[in-house]
């Protein structure tokens, strides 16, 4: 466990340091690059949690796509060479950020994370083979092994089937809402750059 703890602390320092840098560095381009570092550090946390799929998706979408969008937006900004100038939105922005943080922490603390224990678990079992009746929770490696998932790869695959089932089953509404949000962002960008 010592090694995992060292990695956890290194990643934490990296993530917090880089995210402080994002806010405090004057040069907008460097701030965007530090944001990429934050994204990759978060992917590292996912690897520590044995969620390789999420880690890979995190790098693919955030570091690979969102960061590029942000950097292009910075390049298209006028007066970018003056850096990150303060403006009159400082206090409202700080308030909004603090409220958002409070809401997210409250939700994170309040949520019952063991979602698969309840009703959703039965569907996860149905999606997987019928042999998984002995499964206590998707993190229950011994249970998965008893159910016939002999190798590490098969066990991880079974766990991810549960994740996919949750995304398309119980959480299909938020999932689709996010895609609608992305569509709205694309249309908004097109409307902004449309020649008049």
């Amino acid at each position: 466990m010592l090694f995992q703890e060292i990695v956890f602390w290194v990643l934490s320092v990296l993530a917090i340091g880089a995210s402080l840098g994002v806010v405090l560095v004057k040069d907008l381009f460097r701030a965007a690059l530090l944001l990429v570092v934050v994204f990759i550090a978060v992917a590292g946390f996912f690897v520590l949690l044995n969620a390789e799929f999420l880690a890979v998706v995190q790098v693919l979408i955030y570091a690979g796509a969102i960061a590029i969008l942000i950097i292009f937006a910075i390049m298209l900004t006028r007066d970018v060479q003056h850096g990150n100038l303060p403006n009159r939105f400082q206090i409202p922005a700080a308030t909004l950020a603090a409220v958002l943080l409070a809401v997210m922490v409250a939700v994170a603390v309040d949520t019952k994370w063991d979602l698969l224990a309840g009703q959703a678990q039965s569907r996860a079992q149905a999606v997987q083979t019928s042999a998984v009746r002995t499964l206590e929770s998707p993190r229950d490696l011994a249970g998965l092994e008893r159910a016939g998932f002999a190798t590490e790869g098969e066990r991880t695959a079974a766990q991810e089937a549960g994740l996919a089932d949750l995304l398309i089953g119980d959480f299909v509404l938020p999932f689709e809402a996010v895609s609608l949000l992305l569509l709205a962002a694309v249309i908004g960008a097109l409307a902004l750059v449309r020649p008049r």
Binding site: F3, Q4, I6, F29, E52, V56, G64, I71, A157
Partner: protein, 402 residues
């Protein structure tokens, strides 16, 4: 500490881990095994790049009907080392107005994807350094970082040619990412897994035959992403000096070159693994690495051949080629493959070898038809602009005296 991690299945990793673990504490052996794996990866990419540079220069020489480098070593084999030594001893210039930290970091970030990609490629049976079950997604994620590196290089140089090159390079990367990802989905559906080792196992019939359209789109898209010549608008020498690496010299330039040519080698390895059966071949259990390297050489030769044959496209032709030609092809391939897999698979969701042959027949016909159809449609779109003299201006003809 449990040896419960993705790398533990790797023989090299386990060997070093247990060897060091007999004398030293557990976590040191963990780190040592990881470092050994990194050492192998970095050297594999750099040596692959060196061999590829030599092969490319000699072969391009042959294609141009000249000799190519043949001075140092037998047949000029030591040429890449001479190149690297020259670059190391060259003056390392940083422009005065450059963003120095980002300027230094860009070549490193550029080389990292080529090295990281190799981690999941199976060179022979059970030889992948990390057989991730999300291997194909991992490759896509890692390569997507290279666009950040290109933007870093272009922006930090504080040079407009570098900036133009970077903007073009990223535009190409983003456009060609779409067809490449879509055609990989076809492979994933037929193989039923995203792990590269499983994809190799699933190729009872090489996916070269089962997914010809996907292979075509993938090869075209990857050579665009690697800035190879028909698609190298990002560093077009005749327009942009050298694109995003205009300001680089010395070791940093060597790193960028290593990233570029090492990228071709690793891309060839991915093509071989996904479409040509990886290490499969006669006596594959013992000679797997040989078949793998042979196929990698063949694919790398195709990259060199294409580079020597085609002239550079304009940026608008390049975009038209991605969005109006490759994208429809990859979507058609995706639909055809999903229908075939849906109707041909058995109750366990597995495709038999016979089914693969049926798919081969359908897909080859479909691929030929689609390429012919969309090829004739795109020909109008990317036709070179013929210059028309404006009315009233005197036209110059050969021999006319003005």
């Amino acid at each position: 500490m449990s040896p419960d991690n993705v790398l533990y299945g790797t023989p090299v990793y386990r060997f070093v881990y247990e060897l060091v673990g007999t004398v030293l504490p557990c976590w040191i052996s963990y780190v040592a095994a990881g470092l050994v794996i990194m050492f192998i990866l970095v050297n594999a990419v750099l040596m692959g790049a060196a061999v590829f540079v030599f092969a490319e220069r000699r072969l391009i020489g042959r294609f141009h009907n000249r000799i190519g480098p043949n001075r140092w070593g037998p047949f000029g084999t030591f040429q890449p080392f001479a190149d690297v030594l020259k670059l190391i001893f060259k003056e390392d210039i940083t422009p005065a107005a450059a963003d120095k930290i980002v300027f230094l970091a860009a070549p490193i970030v550029m080389l990292a994807p080529a090295i990281l990609m190799l981690a999941v490629v199976p060179f022979a049976k059970n030889t992948a350094l990390a057989d991730l079950n999300v291997g194909i997604l991992y490759i896509l994620a890692v390569t997507s970082l290279s666009s950040v590196a290109i933007l870093m290089a272009g922006w930090s140089s504080n040079n407009r040619y570098a900036m133009f090159g970077a903007a073009r390079g990223v535009a190409v990367l983003i456009s060609y990412e779409v067809p490449v990802v879509l055609c990989l989905l076809g492979v994933v559906m037929v193989a039923g897994s995203m792990s590269l080792a499983d994809v190799v196992e699933a190729q009872a019939v090489p996916f070269l035959l089962v997914q010809p359209l996907a292979l075509f789109v993938f090869l075209a898209g990857v050579s665009a992403e690697l800035n190879r010549t028909p698609f190298d608008v990002a560093e077009a020498e005749s327009e942009l000096v050298a694109g995003y690496h205009t300001e680089y010299s010395g070791v940093k330039f060597a790193l960028i070159q290593a990233a570029e040519f090492g990228g071709v080698v690793t891309a060839s390895m991915v093509v071989v693994t996904l479409f040509l059966g990886g290490w499969a071949g006669p006596l594959a259990d013992y000679l797997g690495w040989f078949w793998f390297l042979l196929k990698v050489g063949a694919v790398a030769f195709i990259f060199i051949w294409v580079r020597a044959t085609y002239p550079r496209l304009r940026i608008d032709q390049l975009m038209a080629f991605a969005w109006k030609f490759l994208l429809p092809l990859s979507i058609i391939n995706l639909f055809a493959t999903s229908l075939e897999v849906f109707f041909l698979r058995d109750s366990q969701g597995v495709l038999a070898t016979n089914d693969l042959w049926i798919m081969t027949g359908i897909n080859l016909a479909l691929g030929a038809g689609c390429i012919a159809l969309f090829g004739s449609m795109i020909r109008e779109k990317i036709k070179p602009v013929t210059w028309q003299p404006a009315a009233g201006t005197a036209s110059l003809t050969v021999g006319e005296v003005t």
